[in-house]
Amino acid sequence: MRAAAEVAATVVDPEMPMLTLADLGVLRSVDVGDSGEVVVTITPTYSGCPATAEMRADLVRRLRAEGYDDVSVRIALEPAWTTDWITEQGRAALVEAGVSPPGPAPRRSGPMPLRLGPPRRSLTCPRCGGPEVDLTSEFGPTACTALYRCAACGEPFEHVKEI
């Protein structure tokens, strides 16, 4: 029987399937009790992320398929998920799939600063490596991404927003 933590770590994000839940930082802990009951704790990314329900169902299904009959998935809301929890391996997988990985998340001390200028990020195109990129929208096809376009190769790409 494979270790429960190992099984849980292979479940992927349904919206960004190049990332496992472990790489995304959503998977916080996997505990196996004395009678074999498994408790998986996850911290969802965004409040309205529609993938959360699928992640939970996938975790239960995969663990059951490996012989763990008693599986429950718990939600932990704090500390809130941050893109800083995406692993190095996850960042490499994003680039490999043509998605620009997040920079360091803003550290908060006091009120969130108001930013009325265009967001400045130092990015390179994940496809051609070109350094000149234009932001087309701070909101992309999934809650966690912004949209950019590379000035060199002309390709649009997604960037995982720092939160």
Binding site: P17, M112, L116
Partner: protein, 275 residues
Amino acid sequence: MDDNAYAGLLVDDAHWAFGEAAHDDPLAGMDLTVPDGIDPVELASYCLVLGDDALVLGHRLSEWCSRAPDLEEDVALANIALDLVGQARLLLARAAAADPALVPDLPEGSPVPAEDALAFFRDAGDFRNATLVELPNGDFAETVCRVLVFATHRLALFERLSDHPDRALRGIAARGVKELTYHRDFAGRWFVVLAGGTEESRRRLEAGLATVWAHRRELGEDPQAEEVLGRVLDAAGVTAPDVRPPAILGGHTPHLTDLLAEMQSVARAHPRGRW
């Protein structure tokens, strides 16, 4: 086929079986004991107010889908709506757990979870939201003003609630802070752009601001939010409108009834439905 980003979507036939996720409790496994010194009924009522604001504004913003000035803004407003509906779901779930008496009765055997019962099976008179969020959408400039004022107020509030003694509310607020920062800054940037655009964009912005400004006190007196809004207006060279709050009888405008009729009709037609 296997080397593209979407290959994982086709793991197996069960991968997209939505049925299993039907009973997805957004606060699953969390300790929802109300801390000492906090009145559960007051906590629930407070979460309901916050949740109703987020739900109703989320619904209004979703009405922009396919109608925004361009595709990027359409996607942006849909994303903001999704965040707000997500926050509403958590807040309503918290309210229901703290005071189950708030949750409307449903037919026996109904699988509707408590937060959905609160969203879809209460009448307008039981909603606790500010009228600001229920007003029908005006033009894009008016929506920019509404999102700016709402997100600025809600962000300042959630920053304070991030150390609330109630673990669930604190967690919801801490996560919401990150989302609302993006909402506020999106609206703030558009506010400055529209103010400095054409005569027509400025005229529309000022008209939209006058509508929204009259309702902003419903969100409470908040010096921190006022200060931030002042900075956005300054950056845009716009003077705060001199408008009085409208007199609203009975707590809501008739627009909320219309909104709920659309939002709730399917759920009410099928109280035993699984979604």
